[in-house]
Amino acid sequence: MTIDRVIRRRILLGLLIAASFGLLTAWYREVDNGPLHRAQASVTDASVPVSAAVQRVARPFRDLWEWGRGLANARDEAQRLQKINQQNAIEIARMQQALADKTDYRTLLAFTKNPRFSGLLTAFTPRGADVIERPVEPDAVRVLIDAGSAEGVAKNDAVVAGLDRDRAALVGIVARVNAHSSMVTLLTSPDFAVGAAVPAHQANGIVRPGSDPGSLELDDVQKRYAVQVNDVVSTSGWQDQALGVKSRLPAGLPIGVATQVNDPGDALVKVIQVTPLVDLDAFSHVLVLTSKAGASP
């Protein structure tokens, strides 16, 4: 290679570098509508149709590239989306559970504020609790809740669960109390019995588990009371002023509805089949009606 050629190419490079620096300097030193800026804008405007044409021509190739790339990434994408779906499913389940919990809590809270019941609860302090253990066999008769003596729960306290907007019904009574948990005996337990009444007819009796699993019976109802199907059966909240004792359960707490009235001709009392208002296999949040003053069971 000749020395002239080396010098020539270096001069050319120097000139082009100088031109670049000159352009850069001029571009930065001039105002926004200076000649270089205007020239740049003109070139950009002039290139728009050409750019559009290039875009149009290149579109099929670009789409082909995107398709190929998408195909290559399809498996990874599918796995990624599957993982997102699983996460979303978990999140949805968690949110649905939270929504159900919230609905339950709102029902129980509304129950405590419902004027029909709040009058009954003056001597009680409602304590919220969650069911933390439920035997797996059907028609289980005991559940464990996460409130105990530390929260003011005592043996024989009434336990209620929400029904709908602002109603709750008895599900059982506290049978055993630990420091931070309690065992609740449900209405359908063989050893459960509670004084009950049909308020519509002033008829009193005792609710006990029925002969069929999951059913209740209100017996010892005198024949003169015309109890009918669909009448609501609730706690009687008995008290004996002479002895100075009273039930730990408030009067008027719904238990169930009468589904059949048996009135055998030769018997002295009626036996009424009662269906509990609460599905005893499904509730998860309860209120324990703890006594404000130490009432006797």
Binding site: L16, F21, A58, R62, W65
Partner: protein, 188 residues
């Protein structure tokens, strides 16, 4: 000679402007991972490797200036970078034995990375915060990889247009067969 001039003219007048337009219009959509191929650099590289640093730096300056004008950069920024790239690639090309396919691709990868760093450096010098740091991201590996991928067919096409032919294979001297002494004795 006329084939050589015609090839250079086609690349300068057709391939370089087309590469600028494609670079601005579609290159960003052809990205691999995070880096887009530098089609302009591939064309400048093809020309510089085949024709030397003079044409390389002129093509680089022109292409860079067009990029500056169309992409609305500061005028002269890419012109400076691509001009230097074309010159250096031309110098490297003089030391390679054409077509030197693998080494050409390595040069393109190296040049793409250096161009990215230079762009970040100039942007930083001109006051763009963080531009230099961004130049050292994943793009520094992904952009050269994408450029190499696209350079494989493009360089072959450019070589064909520019009329670059592979020189004949080297002929290594083959030693004459040596006769065994026993065979010589038997012959005697």
């Amino acid at each position: 000679m006329s084939r050589r001039i015609a090839g250079s003219a086609v690349v300068l007048c057709l391939a370089v402007p087309l590469s600028v337009l494609l670079q601005l219009a579609v290159a960003s959509d052809l990205s691999l991972v995070a880096g887009a191929p530098d089609l302009v650099l591939i064309v400048v590289c093809g020309l510089a490797l085949a024709r030397g640093p003079e044409l390389g730096c002129v093509a680089g300056f022109g292409a860079g200036l067009a990029l500056d004008a169309l992409a609305e950069h500061a005028l002269g920024r890419d012109a400076l970078i691509y001009c230097l790239a074309g010159y250096c690639l031309g110098l490297a090309g003089e030391k390679l034995r054409p077509p030197a396919q693998v080494r050409s691709l390595l040069l393109i990868a190296l040049a793409t990375a250096l161009v990215r760093i230079a762009e970040g450096g100039i942007a930083f010098l001109l006051g763009s915060d963080g531009a230099f740091g961004r130049a050292f991201g994943v793009k520094l590996v992904a952009a050269p990889a994408a450029s190499v991928l696209f350079a494989i067919p493009l360089l072959a096409l450019l070589r064909w247009v520019l009329g670059v032919k592979a020189p004949p294979r080297r002929q290594f001297p083959v030693p004459d067969p040596v006769l065994e002494t026993d065979d010589v004795a038997a012959t005697a």
